[in-house]
């Protein structure tokens, strides 16, 4: 799916000024709340008319101010999953699902969607009788059945609790991997974006700060203030190579060595993205003995950035990857951490939670 967005629009105090083109199965719109992400998807859906610019999907123009083109939402074939599901309260789940279904020539069939989302038992219920996660799954199904060429998802997990988030996240991955449904996914949560998106558009104050592959955006140190200091870290492409059934652990191989993470949900041979948060990384100058930490990898310090506070960040090269470690300035001075120094990178297995390991498409 090729998406071209180049729009301008005055929005109260801030101005929306967005330019990007992306060719990827899943495009992530990432940024703080209020950065203009929702306005961009509303403009793509036709619910917000830009003052100027152009929007096209796979070369077909949906909006072009100069040419006087502005397709109404119902002519755009763009599905929309809102933050709060917005199911029609007067219709049953089945009639909600079928609301936008054309009936004939369905690329995505009713039974397939219902099966994929696990909502077979909910069909005759009223939306009011569903849990938050169920409601969101029905909303996804309803949008899918309208046979959209592009599905917009605006913070679809934001109104759910943690448990439900993981549940719905799995279904979103399934529609990407199994239905090959092109998606624009909006979120301010690093975990969701790194797990789902291939191309990331990083938004700030109504504009695009940077856009590129998810790998590039989340590994760029200069974007760290926007991709999250607390959540920030490295995104590593790896492959599941071994299961330890006795201890419920999975080993992942990447260019810099092997990582151990809890859980056995990843089938062997699967390519995954693993996010390592820099605050979970410790450094040692010698290989430690008698230690509970499972991941000990040898690398070379490639750079140190010192913001002047108590905490500094050291970049360590592990194979093809750069892993940042947030350590205290005191530790840096005691250990003599500087560019070129050989160090051991230590990461607890438990630092990889379910949201930091995602299947890559």
């Amino acid at each position: 799916m090729k998406l071209e967005v180049s729009i301008r629009r005055r929005l109260g105090a801030t101005n929306l000024n967005v330019d990007f083109a992306a060719e990827a199965p899943v495009v992530g719109l990432f940024g703080r709340s209020g950065s203009g992400k929702s306005s961009v998807v509303n403009a793509i859906a036709g619910l917000l008319e830009p003052d100027a610019g152009r929007i096209a999907i796979d070369g077909e123009v949906l909006f072009d101010a100069a040419a006087g083109i502005n397709l109404p939402p119902e002519k755009r074939r763009v599905g929309y999953v809102f933050q709060d599901a917005l199911l029609f309260p007067h219709l049953s789940v089945r009639r909600n699902l079928l609301y936008g279904a054309p009936g004939t020539a369905m690329r995505i069939g009713f039974d397939a969607v219902v099966g994929l989302l696990g909502i077979e038992n909910l069909l005759e219920r009223s939306p009011a009788a569903l849990s938050g996660g169920e409601r969101q799954r029905v909303a996804i199904g309803r949008a899918l059945l309208s046979q959209p060429r592009l599905l917009l998802m605006d913070e679809p997990l934001a109104s759910l609790d943690n448990q439900r988030r993981l549940e719905v996240l799995r279904y979103v991955e399934a529609l990407r991997n199994e239905l090959r449904q092109p998606v624009v996914y909006v979120s301010h949560a690093v975990g969701e974006i790194t797990r789902l998106a291939d191309h990331v558009v990083l938004m700030n104050e109504g504009g695009v700060l940077a856009h590129g592959s998810v790998h590039e955006i989340f590994n760029r140190p200069d974007l760290r203030p926007y991709t999250g200091r607390y959540e920030g870290g490295a995104l590593i492409e790896a492959e599941a190579v071994a299961h330890d059934h006795a201890y419920f652990l999975t080993r992942f191989r990447f260019s810099g060595g092997e990582l151990v993470a809890p859980g056995l949900d990843t089938p062997l041979g699967t390519r995954v993205r693993i996010r390592i948060r820099s605050r979970d990384v410790s450094l040692a100058t010698e290989r430690p003995a008698g230690i509970s930490i499972r991941n000990v990898l040898e690398g070379v310090v490639s750079g140190v950035s010192d913001g002047g506070g108590a905490i500094i960040e050291a970049q360590v090269r592990l194979g093809q990857e750069e892993v940042p470690a947030r350590i205290s300035r005191q530790a840096r001075d005691e250990l003599g951490v500087a560019a070129g120094r050989r160090v051991f990178v230590l990461v607890k297995a438990i630092a990889f939670d379910k949201r930091s390991v995602g299947f890559s498409a």
């Binding site: 009223s126 939306p127 009011a128 009788a129 949008a143």
Partner: protein
């Protein structure tokens, strides 16, 4: 009540049936324009909206006699609208039950618009946006989302207007006079009997019928109100 005399005389039955007919016709005729006006007031933004709103509310605040007189001017035989309807549709309002229905419909109009407007304003407009993204054009959205969700308000407004029509007096008597069997509805008949020596029994009976009809309308609206809240809570589906 051991005897076999009917509770209402033939004359009184005629009055009650005529009242129900006039009220029902007034509701049926005013419902489409009221729904349209409510939709415009709830969703549209245009210059002069305040004036439009005020105009719709006029019957609520003007003396009914004034409305009746305006109707006489506009919809009488010689009035511009009256002549038009008579020539084009063969429909006469002056001194006919149709005129009574028109007067009652206009007096109940603001109540109906208000109830429907409140119901439409309570609908999340994003539900309509969601329907658009699912491929529904504006008319389908109106028919499949907006109106069904506003249904409790539409029913409530209709009941209110119906009850208001049953009690309409001033505009009716001014516009179509007080003709037994044609324009003499319940309030007009009650007024008539109070002016007639020995009419007390009839007055009491018709008053009792009025009370019963009003109570029935109130009970119906209460029941519908509760039922629509049940739908919102997911206990029932339409």
């Amino acid at each position: 009540m051991g005897d076999n005399r009917p509770m209402l005389s033939a004359e009184e039955t005629t009055i009650v049936l005529l009242s129900l007919k006039v009220a029902a016709a007034s509701v049926v005729v005013s419902l489409p324009p009221a729904a349209l006006a409510a939709l415009v007031l709830a969703r549209a933004r245009f210059p002069g909206k305040t004036l439009f709103d005020a105009l719709i509310h006029l019957p609520l605040v003007l003396p009914p006699v004034v409305i009746g007189y305006f109707l006489l001017l506009g919809f009488g035989r010689k009035g511009p609208f009256g002549a038009f309807f008579e020539q084009v549709f063969g429909l006469t309002f002056a001194f006919r039950w149709t005129g009574a229905a028109l007067a009652a419909g206009i007096m109940g109009f603001p109540l109906m618009v208000r109830a429907i407007r409140l119901a439409i304003e309570a609908i999340d407009p994003r539900l309509e946006s969601a329907a658009r993204t699912l491929g529904a054009g504006p008319w389908r959205v109106l028919a499949s989302v907006t109106l069904p969700l506003a249904l409790p308000g539409i029913v409530m407004g209709s009941l209110l207007a119906f009850a208001r029509s049953l009690g309409e007096f001033g505009a009716t008597i001014t516009f179509v006079s007080n003709i037994p069997g044609e324009t003499q509805t319940l309030p007009l008949a009650i007024y008539n009997f109070t002016q007639t020596p020995g009419g007390d029994a009839a007055v009491l009976k018709l008053c009792a019928v009025s009370v019963l009809l009003s109570l029935a309308a109130l009970a119906a609206s209460e029941w519908l109100n509760r039922r629509s809240r049940g739908v919102a809570a997911g206990r029932g589906l339409m």
